[in-house]
Symmetry: C2
Subunit: 345 residues, 2 copies
Amino acid sequence: MSSNGNTARVRVALDAMGGDYGPDVTVPGALAAVAAHPQLHVTLVGDQEAVDAELSRHGADIQALPIAIAPSEGKIEDDEHPISALRRKPRSSIVTAMNLLRAGEADMVVSVGSTGASMATATITLGLLEGLERPCIGGNFLGLAPNTTVVDLGSNVDARPSLLLSFAALGVVFARRRLQIENPRVALLSVGEEAAKGNRQVQESHSLFRDSHLNFVGNVEGMDFFTDKADVIVCDGFIGNILIKFAEGLGSALAPYLQHQLAEFLPEAQLRQIAGALWTSMNLPRTMGGPLFGVDGLVMVGHGSSTAEGIAGAINTGLLCHSIDLVEGFREELSELRHTGVLEA
Amino acid sequence: MSSNGNTARVRVALDAMGGDYGPDVTVPGALAAVAAHPQLHVTLVGDQEAVDAELSRHGADIQALPIAIAPSEGKIEDDEHPISALRRKPRSSIVTAMNLLRAGEADMVVSVGSTGASMATATITLGLLEGLERPCIGGNFLGLAPNTTVVDLGSNVDARPSLLLSFAALGVVFARRRLQIENPRVALLSVGEEAAKGNRQVQESHSLFRDSHLNFVGNVEGMDFFTDKADVIVCDGFIGNILIKFAEGLGSALAPYLQHQLAEFLPEAQLRQIAGALWTSMNLPRTMGGPLFGVDGLVMVGHGSSTAEGIAGAINTGLLCHSIDLVEGFREELSELRHTGVLEA
């Protein structure tokens, strides 16, 4: 399905309606992305009129650009139940984009719409990779810990140990292929390093991880996102979601705090620049998006509040994930995990 | 047991052996505290020789100071199992200090030794407040969210909903008496605001909280430590422990990051000052300690790596908690919770 060469054309189906701002940011994001990446082709999937209007506003003539439009009808909102919404809105932008990917008319989907809807649509339309019960979200989410991959960043609560182990395997592939870490060290997030510490979920997962083929280094604690003790940190999606939002909230609180602390020392413009850099480093997913882990196709999701830069960033991350054939890596690692037999134990 | 006047003498039994540095920091911490607080009397509980040596090193004559020594033998280490260690070491510093409190010869215990040992010793020696199955750690742990009280910050994993509700009641007392919030808003930490979102523990707790006499405002998310949606945020100790250590690790990573970012703009001394203020704000428990919630007596615990300033800070926080009669407040609120009958439902 995918080709690895950096110069081959890569076709992105962009959910033009997704996110808080829809075409206002997705269209300029796409324009910036095709300007930056000569190999890129973007199909804007959205309400024809809204997309046309935004293209006109930018004076963009798509005949002269590697851009097409695939008309769709409406979008799935954040507050809709994903599964029922995608059945009720089979022509919505995210479903239409996912169908293009399944039909081989796109190499990836990029969306900053409802993450739940993206996951549900991807799972139903593309299917899951063999051996997996659920998809998840994973990646490096902290600018201050750029080499630490975390799974699950927020989709599956009360996950069983075998599911956590599958997610760990996907995290290893991400760390190896995307962050170029040769033999990623895997750890379980807990409240102490000793195997006996932790909640039931961690205690039950510990032996399963130890018996697996992964390079399991034991338990780590909350500070170890920053201590280089592990490359892949595995936690329940309930905790991953809380951590990612905690870091986001902290970043938003820190920026004004620092501006206040530094006000007497620095001119306003530099202050804003430093506070902005800090905010960005605490909010990586808003600026670069991340791939869904475990669905049978490359799907990039981003924060609903993404700006045009965030859209272009998510497309850029998608190109990187495509060039390293992330999904194929996932497939191979899950196959290896299945063949070790540890999941049946 | 306690007297509320600010001028009445307050007697602290200080675990002089506790923490990473023992008398090297506890003795100068005590000296600084008695110099700052005229009403304070400190009993240094520790190995006589080690305490004497450190007092000499500071040229301190305890005859002329509101300081006494209560000799003890050895200490409980971080890596010992708390319960068996306190039985094996009945004359250790933490057990001796706790006995002074139980005997009415001290108004509070302050320790930066093993938190597990402090909790176990306090539970066994002092007992728990009526209606409580376990003690916990709670308080405001983030300098950037100084009015947000969090329970449980790290002692009880896989807590049952009724235990979380009891902890919430204790958190409300802390918010009301210590942070002077009249009718504290209580929330459960989850992955979405909707009642149906969250893991089993949160979902099961939701109705119990809703039916209680507390001012329950529903679920909040990870960013809401900083958004003033709730005054008391309740989570399992597994998550509380991870969050407190995550913030600590982030603070440690941020300081050098900022120093690097600001290096071209600011002289070294100011850089260090700003990075230090930031670190402190991310590490409140290291600089001010916090009370155990739910034991029948006032016990302040602090971070093992506390310096002399941290010891003095923990004593200072202890004086504040004593002046507002925190433990009596806990007792009254638990009594009210029992009488609502919600825990039996």
